[in-house]
């Protein structure tokens, strides 16, 4: 199994969610996140004083999938999240050793 984590623009969240549902992903976790990439943050002005706000709001989406689905799910997320402008985010995946469904105690792929 793999854990796919996507950090995307918050306003793309609904599209990503819909695309994942359409693909057949059963569940996901979303967290409010903040951060920056190469483009850094934005500037705010208060009484003429400019403040650089490094950390911009992001949505962090986490999905557990089986190994063979991982690449396709990543493509689905990327396609749904892309706007073509800077700050679109990142998607990555890491291997997962074990997963347990808390309610039933099922393990592995059954727990997804």
């Amino acid at each position: 199994m793999r854990l796919i984590t996507a950090v995307v623009k918050p306003y793309r969240l609904d599209d990503v969610k819909a695309a994942l549902q359409a693909y057949g992903v059963h569940g996901l976790t979303v967290t409010e996140a903040s951060g920056y990439g190469r483009q850094r943050g934005h500037t705010e002005v208060y009484r003429g004083a400019e403040y650089t706000v490094d950390l911009v709001p992001k949505a962090r989406i986490e999905v557990l999938v089986e190994d063979e689905d991982a690449e396709e799910v990543i493509d689905v997320v990327v396609k749904a999240a892309r706007t073509g402008k800077i700050g679109d985010g990142k998607v990555w995946s890491v291997p997962v050793d074990s997963v347990v469904r808390v309610r039933t105690g099922e393990r592995g792929p059954d727990a997804l």
Binding site: E44, V45, Y46, R47, G48, A49, E50, Y51, T52, V53
Partner: protein, 442 residues
């Protein structure tokens, strides 16, 4: 009631006094929204404290020093009215009871030191602040009120002939330069120019500036001390100049920084209110538009001075109140029509430089006196009990350290879960509740 009493005037002045009272809580929220989350309460309480401390001082000796019989060459009143003794319920000041006049002026005495707090936000020890306003109110505000507002004895008002209808010099310049002195004594906040010190709540700032604007009609129109044409002129000029100053500030901001900001709108309004305060009874409505535009743009520029000169006036008390107050006072010397509260004409109305010179004397006298005494008092307090909180407290949050409170409950996720578990449980506090909220009963 005695001859000369006016019920209309008295009603108007009492309501005006109540309006001016509201300005101090308004100011508290104007400033409170501009500080960071961790110093919100400290900001609010510093302002509210002025209501408590100055009121008591005013009754004890403040009114007597400011408006009692002159004791010494127009510099200060005597103490014959200590404790407001010897003032009869029906005794008149003009057409209103002395108690109504004293209450109205009390509100001015309250808000003036409160204004200073913005310059030293985020780093002030509360007890030092209480001591400072006690001393500064006594040594600076009460005598300066005598100079400026006592038109029969005060040296600036009666001898020099400097005009200040509602307190551009006595209130705003006075507080602004004291703020400058104090922020020089206290030094810069940790992280000044490096860390973002963004306002934590612009809606609070807007609310506060709205309350200030509302209360300011009492401040300016009420200063006519009668429900008459002069009050009407002061009222309309207050509204006009404030509106124009908001436009002036926003225009400057758009030109200089590319955006119209909410903080700019609120600040421009306050700058306009400050600027028109001394002048509202002497200008024409057209003159007030000019004054507003000039003061709005000037103050928008002036708030950048702190970065250029490197003093940390946290909330721009110098840029808005010292500069705005001085500008308003000086503009009387240019724009006074001679048809309002004084026959003195300004330069633009054929009056020559005479009135401008008198105004400059007022600005210099009050500015220098207030700066020097505030600096000395600041140093005195700093050397004895310390004026500033420790660096650790400043970084961690002054509200918690000084007042054992926080303005907002951001840690509610864990706490509410624990409390919900307790509410559901009939067996008393659950084990997980330890160390969170001991006083909640199951």
């Amino acid at each position: 009631m005695p001859n000369g009493f006016s019920g209309g005037d008295t009603a108007f002045v009492l309501i005006s006094a109540a309006l001016v009272m509201l300005m101090t809580p308004g100011l508290a929220f104007f400033y409170g929204g501009m500080v960071r989350v961790k110093s919100t309460l400290n900001m609010l309480i510093m302002n509210f404290t002025a209501l408590a401390v100055i009121t008591v001082l005013w009754v004890l000796y403040g009114y007597s020093l400011a408006f009692g019989p002159d004791a010494f060459g127009g510099v200060i009143g005597d103490l014959s009215l200590f404790g407001m003794r010897h003032i009869g319920m029906n005794e008149l000041s003009g057409s209103i009871p002395v108690f109504a006049f004293a209450s109205f002026q009390l509100m001015f005495a309250v808000i003036t030191p409160a204004l200073i707090s913005g310059a030293i936000a985020d780093r002030t020890k509360y007890i030092a602040w209480v001591l400072f306003i006690t001393l500064w109110g006594t040594i600076v505000y009460f005598p300066v009120a005598h100079w400026v507002f006592d038109t029969s004895d005060g040296w600036l008002a009666a001898k020099v002939g400097a005009l200040d209808f509602a307190g551009g010099t006595a209130v705003h310049l006075n507080a602004g330069v004291a703020g400058l002195a104090l922020c020089l004594v206290l030094g810069k906040r940790v992280g000044f120019k490096k860390d973002p010190m963004r306002p934590h709540s612009l809606p609070l700032v807007m609310l506060g500036s709205g309350l200030l604007w509302f209360g300011w009609f009492g401040f300016n129109a009420g200063s006519a001390l009668a429900a008459n044409g002069l009050a009407g002129l002061a009222f309309v000029n207050t509204q006009i100049a404030t509106a124009a100053a908001m436009i002036g500030w926003l225009a400057f901001e758009k030109w200089r920084h590319g955006k119209f900001t909410t903080l700019g709108a609120a600040s421009g309004a306050v700058a306009g209110l400050v600027g028109i305060t001394p002048a509202c009874a002497y200008l024409s409505p057209l003159g007030s538009i000019l004054l507003g535009l000039v003061v709005g743009a000037l103050c928008a520029w002036a708030v950048s001075l702190k970065y250029r000169f490197g003093f940390d006036d946290s909330l721009d008390v110098v840029g808005v109140h010292a500069v705005g107050g001085a500008a308003g006072a000086l503009l009387i010397g240019l724009l006074s029509t001679g048809h309002g509260g004084s026959p003195a004409k300004g330069l633009f109305y054929g009056g020559g430089f005479g009135q401008l010179g008198k105004q400059a004397i007022g600005v210099l006298a009050v500015g220098v006196y207030s700066f020097v005494i505030a600096w000395l008092l600041g140093k005195l307090i700093d050397k004895t009990i310390g004026f500033r909180v420790s660096e650790e407290v400043e970084v961690a949050g002054i509200d918690q350290a000084e007042h054992a409170e926080t303005a907002y409950d951001f840690s509610a996720v864990g706490a509410s879960l624990v409390n919900a578990a307790r509410a559901l449980s009939s067996e008393g506090p659950s084990e997980g509740a330890e160390g969170t909220s001991k006083k909640v009963d199951a």
